[in-house]
Structure formats: structure tokens, C-alpha cells
Assembly symmetry: C2
Homo-oligomer: 534 residues x 2
């Protein structure tokens, strides 16, 4: 599956209710086998939901003839645009209670279409939900509550072309609706790559990455898509504009940084000049095992505070390592990977492995420099990584409640934070369900001053109460993060599910500023209402 | 001089009208010798201006007793806070026509003082000019025009302490008024360094660096102070707040990035948690000479697009190289420097030198790894770098007009941009003065997608017309940058002198946003009026 998933056919159908490709979902037997690992789950999987079973009304508004060719009111695309792909979304679909189905889905072909649709929506009190690949796991692409007359899902994926390439500056102008594979496919003939590979790579767009500050391929230095944005074009209800293509600037506050992370609430990013990379010619990777997670954290900190800049520096706790096949003896595993288009990287790997061993790591023999990951753990990890969301949907079908969340914190608080999440979120999950919960943790991105842990919580639910249970687990997680001053999100975005944590975290001067910007750029309040602010 | 300048005594008097330390200025004979190099300058230097010769009126407002201890109305500090240290400022002082002398100078001791002063100023229509080291070269710290009842210069330098150090996360909480040497002096006992060394290091503050997005020590990767800011505390007239200490976050648009580059127009940065470095243990440097500047640009691009990440990658054109003693044969010189606290850097230097040689470079023998720069050109460059502003003041005393400006542009436009600046700005300088002009160029910071050139223009002026001539040269430079879509500033900030270029460069949605933020955070419009926006 993973290999095929990286080379999607345009015609390969996507699931309207679950993650990714419809044909990649677990079959009933696989679901049952998975459920058997989690005490208290259902005896047999919930059935696959059908669009035909949904109640989908007539749209409350009709677009004018000039926009009619861009807009559809067909049931299936409307159902597929009702929500993102969070566990909360999947279980609601499985339980036949999806989020508000949008009245219309629009597929603009260019900037002017976007501006025209925003104008029309503003005049008719229609909420507009910008929609890329729809892979949001934070309630970022649904309409939840509110008083708008109608809801339009603004699907950007018809705008998927690489428009211009500047090889001297290794940059390309790319439309925001390009999905990962389409984008890379257009860059490949030029020997260039954006090299941004989030877990959602196949099912998310450049515009979505930019609007949510997506975390990408690199575990160190340039960890977010932010750093690769050279210039943005933004269409807002009040004005449209493009920042200059600049390698860097000190001219006032960065205009791009205001729209990076704006999650469709301030404007629609329609295209961007992106900084590209040469494809790496040299690679080396290794994994190092640790008996003790806290010593492993010290090892990762030593690597992060060096200037070795590994492309991959993932620390898997014992549960994650077992799940991905990287280790079966209860060890935590640090997966290190280096790559370069300039020079061999074996020396850097060797220094990193030495640092890890100095903190109690075992293994990590320096493999040969070459194209393929030399260590079996690395390959096992990659396959499992792409497969995980499908497994989550399988667990959902078995009535489990699954929550994945991530954060970032400075090193001084990180060990206590990880312990507290295990203890407190685990207790919340067990108390609310009466079943034993599993919590795994990995570090996905590391910094000289801290790191980003990613947690997976799984527990059997009570049939029909899954959303309420999920909400309790989420509240417990939000509370732990808040008390440790760990960000409510490192790269999943705020959306609607993280609003309470975000509101507590956002400093007051910036809250005032953001509200002022929202009023100035979206005076009618039609853009993604409820995301980031009310 | 340079060695002493790096270890300032607290009591060493600063010049009120010119750059840096009063005792470091050129004497009359040195000024005359320098003037002799530039045809058409005066026969003898203009006299040193005296505060006693200025007309300094009584303040138009009186602070309340509760704030009186923070505020002075003495002539000398008021004169020293009237302007920054641009050429335009120095020549105005030399000609006895300085900028508007502020009514009062305040030295707050902490956040509450800042908030109280802003409250009082807001109630009494007093413009507040935040003032760090006062080294602005863009008119960033003066009051120019406007209708306020009075002007208060808010000098932050009494807030100069390192308040807290987190060694695990290599971070420190530092008050914004700390000048470079005071800041480094407090970090040194902990084996840590901010390693931010702008040319103004001795005479500028952390808050000034943050508010202007200062360019620092590193020529690649983390080139601006922005990247080292972990959390900011900001006091605005509307609210005060502190962002969380985070190594990274994806929770909405970055709150800190809105205040980085806000130049005192949106709020006062009072303290920051900053990311620190270990002191480097390994260093290596070399210089490579090029007969042709365009081939040298290709070499720099190759290095910038590698992942070698030199700490120093300065390209000096023939004029710059001659001026700094790095070369006397008309060659351009590329100065490469690597440093690391992790591992020896000779290999990286060797690969970089090979890349440079492959593009026609000569020299660059790999020196030994050690503490001291092995190449004479490197040392010569450093001394000249710190001396340059004093030379500029010497030229100003000889009636010359000197303008230094910097920008950044993508590689595809860079060679044409540099040629156009030479030709067009040179022609403007010569036409308006009738004297031959000198234009030198160096690259200070380099990126995979472009670089930041820094230009120095010098030409003999017409006595008394220097400001008008400077304005014409600046207008020509602004025009060339605009036509090449090169930023109006890479690290000097916008201030008041770059407003016309900034206004043309700023995309419309961000202009609307910035005005809205200004109105929300500074509703009375007292903060640094005229900077960034009206």
C-alpha cells in the first residue's frame, strides 16, 4: 500500500468520510484484528457510512449565472466537504451525524474566480470555508454553529499548477491548490523538489500547508513550511495583493508571516513562490536504542544543540517503537537521518551517533552512504507512518476513541510535560471510559531550545458516546499543555478544536491585533467563521 | 581602536552628534587625509558641533510627580536623543540644524514605568519615540513633523539586565535596553552567547535589534535576530502581554513576528527570551579572489545553495576589498568563515573553497583550525568594518555626502540590480554634485534564493546642500530598488527615510492590516509617529 500511495492515479477514489484513498482502508477482518488489541472495543466493525443515508437539503442560496459553472450542489462533493479528517470527523460520519453539510462547493480556476466568489458570498451572507485537500485534523474546514445564511466550501484543488520556475534562485510559483504529488510531479523534471512531506502529503495542498504552518520533512532548522515561503499571493474580501519575492527582508513586520497560520480566516492564499531544494545525492541513517526515555531525551537534546542538522531525528518511545516495528524489547528508538546534495554525510551521522551513545544509546552502526535507508528501523518507520491514519479509522470502526495531538516546549519542561501527558491524559481516558488506555509518544521535530512531542491516545469507547469521550480527552490534554506552557499545536493548526487552548495562549496585544486585522480584511465575517477567533 | 572598542568602559563618553565613542572620532588631520581621496571635498574639516550652540527650548509639558524621577529635561541628553546616527543626522548636527529636539528624555526602570509613561503620554498628546542605543541609520528615532503637543524620547537603556538563564534550553530572559557588550558580558560567565554582532554592536540594544529585525553575525541560515527570539514581552498603549516561550509553534500567525520589525510604532518591546549559542570551539576561514564580480556572484550562489552554512560569506567588490585592505589588485574578494561548537570545520571550508575555485576563484588555501582567523584578509576586514562609521563621520566633516544602503533580491535579478545601482545611483550622485562618485558593494548575507548587497556611495557635496543632495541620491537608490523588486531594506529597517520605498513594496492586504493593528494598539497615535505608517 505505501508504495502505491505515493504514486496516486488521478482516478483513484478518495474516501468521503475517512482518511485517504477509499481502497486503502482496512477491511473488516483487519479492523477486528486491530480492535482485539484494545480491550473493550466492539465485536465487529461499524459499517462504512453511505452518502445516500445522509439527509442533504437543497442549498439555501443560488449562485448567479456568472459563477454557476464554478459551483456544484451535488450530494457527494457536499458530503465530502462537510468536515476534515480528524478522529472526531470520522466517528461522526460513522455514527451518521456528520458536521453541517455545506450548501455549495465551488472550484475556482484562478484568482479572479476566488475574488468573485468572495464578493458574492459577502453580499449574500454566505460563510466561505477555504478547502485544500481537506485533511484538517482540528476542525479547520467545517462550519460549526453561526448565523450565516448559507455555507460555501471553497475547494482550491482546481488551481494546481506550477506556473513558473526560476532555476537560478531555485524557486517556483505554484498555485495553492496543488496536492503534494501533483506539485512534486511538476518540479521533478527540473531536478528540484519542495521536499515537504507531511503525513498528509498525498491529501493536502500547498495552500493548506501555508495556511496552517504545516510541519514538513526536516526534523531540524527549517521544520515548517513557513521557512520555504518566498512570497504569497492573498485574496481577501477587502483587497488582494502579492508580497515581493525576497530571500529575506527587514522592511517592517513580515507581511507573509501574518497570513502563514491564518487558517483561511483572514484571506485565501491563492499562490506562492516557494523555495526549492536539489534532490539529495548523499544519505545516511541509523537508529539508536535507549532503555530509558529520559536519557534518550538528553541524547536528542545533545544532537539538537549541535550544528549537525539531521534531516530526521525522530525519537520513538517504547510503544511507538513497538507499533512501527522499530523495536520489540521495550526500548525507545532514536531514528537519525542525514541527507545532502553537496557532500557525503557519514561523518555527521557518526558524530550524532557518538553523541547518542554518550547518553546511553545502543546500536547505531554507521551504514554506508547511499540512496536507500540502510537501517531496517528507518524503513519500518516510514511505512508505518503513512499507514497510521488508516489504522486510526480502523480503530474508529471498532468503536475506539483515538486522539493524536502534538505540541512543542522548551527542554527545561519537556520531560515533566511528557510524563504529565501520560499520567493525566491517560487517567482522563480511563476514567471516562472504564477501559485501559494506550498512550504513545514520539518527537517529530527538535530544536536547540526544545522539541515537538506527538502523542497518540487510544481507548475503547462507549457506543454512541465517542465524541463526548473524545472531548473529555481533548480537554484533559489541553489543560496539561496549558499548565506546562506547551503550545496547543506545533503543526496541526488551531482550527475549531484547539480554540480554547489557543485563546489562553495568545498574548493580549496580539489578540487585539488579530481581531483588528480580521475586521479590516473580512469586514462581513464570512471567512472560515470560528477559526482562530469569533 | 577596534580592540578597545569591544571592551567599552561604562564611563567612556559617547558622541552626541556622531557615531560611537567621542574619543574614537577621526582627528582633523585624519579627516583631511580622508577628504583628499574624494575630489571636491573641503580644504579643512567642519568643526565639531557643540550642544551649547543649539537652541533648546523649555519642555512643552511637565511630567507628574509620580514620573518625575524617570524624566530629564537637561539639554545634553535631549540633544543626544534628537536623531539617530545616519549620515543625514550627522550632517544636520554638523550644520547646526539637527532634528526636532525632544522635550523630555525618560529612562524607565521596568515594565510598569513604560506603561505609566505611555498612559501619561496618551493623556497629554505627547509623542513617544522608543530609543535603544540610538544607532538608527534610517531616521527611526526622531520626531519629524506631526502635531503632537510634545515629544518624549523613551530611552530603554536603564533596563539592561539578563534576568534569567535556562541552560538546558540555552535561553535567557533579557531586558530590551541591554547594549551588546552589557548583554554578552552577563552571558559570558555561563559559557553562552547571543552571538549577534551587527556593526552597531556596542551602540545598539536587544530591543532595538528586535524592533528593527537587525542582521547579525551569521551570513547564512539564521541571519536576522528574528530567528533567535523565543518570546517577547510587549507593552502597548492598549495592552501588555508576553508570548509563551516556545521553540516553535503553529498556533495561528506568529504573535512575535508582528512585533519583530514594528520599529516602536505598535508597542515597546521591554524584554525577550532569546535563544543562545555555545561559544564556538572550532573555526576556519579563508579568502578567495576573483577577477570578475559576476563570476564571484556565481561562486557565492554555489556556496549559498550548498548546505555548508558558513558563518561568514562576505563578498567584497574591488572597491570594498581595497578599502578594507583585503586586496589591492582590483580583485573582488570572498571571505569565508566557518565555526562550530560541535566538530572541526576544515572539511566544510575545503568544500566551499573548492566550489569558489570552480567558479574562477584564486587562493583560499585551507588554514589551520584554531581560534584566530588565519587569513590576513579576514582580520583586515573586521577592523575596517568597525571603523567604517567613524570614517563616514570624518568624510561628513569634509563636506562629503555619504550614503550606505542595503537590500536583498533573488539571484535571478541580483547581477543586474548591482550593475544598475552602480550606474544609476552613481549618475545621480555625480549629476547633482558635479563631482565623481565612489560606489562600493559587498554581500553581507546570502541565501539559497538570493543575497543581500550593501552599497556605500561617497561624493563631495555642495556646502550647506548636503541633505538635499543626500535626498536625491536616496531617491535614485529607492527607485532602482523598486524597479528591480529588491527590498527597501534587508536589516537597516524602514524608519522615516525608507517610507516611500516601503509604502510601494508593502502588499495592500498587509497595509490594511497594519493600519488596523496600529489603531487597535495605539489608538491615540503617540508611538513613533511617521514610522512604517502615518
Amino acid at each position: 500500500m505505501p508504495a502505491a500511495a505515493l504514486h496516486p492515479r488521478a482516478s483513484r477514489p478518495r474516501s468521503w468520510w475517512g482518511w485517504g484513498y477509499a481502497d486503502a482502508r482496512l477491511d473488516d477482518a483487519e479492523c477486528a484484528a486491530l480492535g482485539a488489541l484494545l480491550p473493550g472495543t466492539l465485536a465487529r466493525p461499524l459499517p462504512i457510512p453511505r452518502v445516500a443515508d445522509l439527509t442533504i437539503g437543497r442549498p439555501a442560496v443560488t449562485p448567479p449565472p456568472s459563477l454557476a459553472h464554478l459551483v456544484t450542489a451535488e450530494p457527494r462533493p457536499r458530503a465530502a466537504h462537510a468536515m476534515g479528517k480528524a478522529y472526531r470527523d470520522v466517528i461522526r460520519a460513522l455514527r451518521g451525524r456528520p458536521g453541517r453539510i455545506p450548501d455549495l462547493v465551488a472550484h475556482p480556476a484562478g484568482d479572479q474566480d476566488v475574488a468573485d466568489l468572495l464578493d458574492w458570498a459577502g453580499e449574500h451572507d454566505v460563510a466561505v470555508i477555504p478547502f485544500g485537500g481537506g485533511s484538517s485534523v482540528v476542525g479547520g474546514v467545517e462550519y460549526r454553529g453561526g448565523t450565516h445564511r448559507a455555507v460555501l466550501s471553497l475547494d482550491l484543488t482546481a488551481m494546481d499548477r506550477v506556473l513558473e520556475i526560476d532555476t537560478a534562485s531555485r524557486s517556483a510559483r505554484i498555485q495553492a491548490g496543488a496536492l503534494g504529488p501533483a506539485l512534486e510531479g511538476q518540479l521533478r523534471p527540473h531536478g528540484l523538489t519542495l521536499r515537504h512531506f507531511p503525513q498528509s502529503f498525498e491529501f493536502s495542498t500547498l495552500g493548506g500547508w501555508l495556511a496552517t504552518r504545516a510541519g514538513g520533512h526536516y526534523a531540524t532548522v527549517h521544520t515548517h513550511i513557513d521557512d520555504f515561503a518566498q512570497s504569497l499571493r492573498v485574496v481577501t474580501p477587502a483587497a488582494a495583493g502579492t508580497s515581493w519575492r525576497l530571500p529575506a527582508s527587514g522592511a517592517g513586520p513580515s507581511p507573509d508571516r501574518l497570513f502563514l497560520g491564518s487558517e483561511g480566516a483572514l484571506g485565501v492564499i491563492t499562490e506562492a513562490w516557494m523555495r526549492l531544494q536539489e534532490r539529495p545525492r548523499h544519505r545516511a541513517s541509523a537508529s539508536v536504542a535507549f532503555a530509558d526515555l529520559h536519557r534518550a531525551l538528553d541524547a536528542v537534546r545533545a544532537v539538537a544543540q549541535s550544528d549537525l542538522a539531521p534531516a530526521n531525528c525522530r525519537l520513538l518511545d517504547a510503544g511507538e517503537a513497538r507499533l512501527s516495528g522499530a523495536s520489540h524489547d521495550g526500548s525507545a528508538v532514536l531514528v537519525l537521518g542525514f541527507e545532502s546534495a553537496t557532500a557525503p554525510v557519514d561523518d555527521r551521522l557518526a558524530v550524532a551517533v557518538d553523541l547518542a551513545r554518550a547518553h546511553g544509546g545502543r546500536g547505531g552502526a554507521s551504514p554506508a552512504d547511499g540512496d536507500a535507508p540502510a537501517d531496517a528501523a528507518v524503513g519500518a518507520w516510514r511505512s508505518a507512518f503513512l499507514r497510521m491514519p488508516y489504522l486510526r479509522d480502523g480503530l474508529a470502526r471498532m468503536g475506539a476513541v483515538v486522539e493524536t495531538f502534538e505540541t512543542a516546549a522548551t527542554w527545561d519542561t519537556l520531560p515533566a510535560l511528557i510524563d504529565a501527558v501520560r499520567t493525566e491524559v491517560g487517567a482522563a481516558a480511563e476514567q471516562t471510559t472504564g477501559h485501559p488506555a494506550t498512550i504513545n509518544c514520539r518527537l517529530t521535530h527538535v530544536y536547540p531550545d526544545g522539541a515537538a512531542p506527538y502523542f497518540t491516545v487510544a481507548v475503547a469507547g462507549r457506543p454512541g458516546d465517542e465524541v463526548a469521550i473524545w472531548d473529555e480527552i481533548k480537554a484533559a490534554a489541553t489543560d496539561v499543555l496549558h499548565r506546562h506552557r506547551a503550545t496547543i499545536t506545533h503543526h496541526h493548526a488551531v482550527g475549531r478544536d484547539h480554540r480554547s487552548g489557543y485563546d489562553r495562549q495568545r498574548p493580549e496585544p496580539f489578540a487585539l491585533a488579530l481581531h483588528a486585522v480580521k475586521n479590516a480584511l473580512d469586514p462581513q465575517g464570512i471567512l472560515n467563521p470560528g477559526v482562530l477567533l469569533d
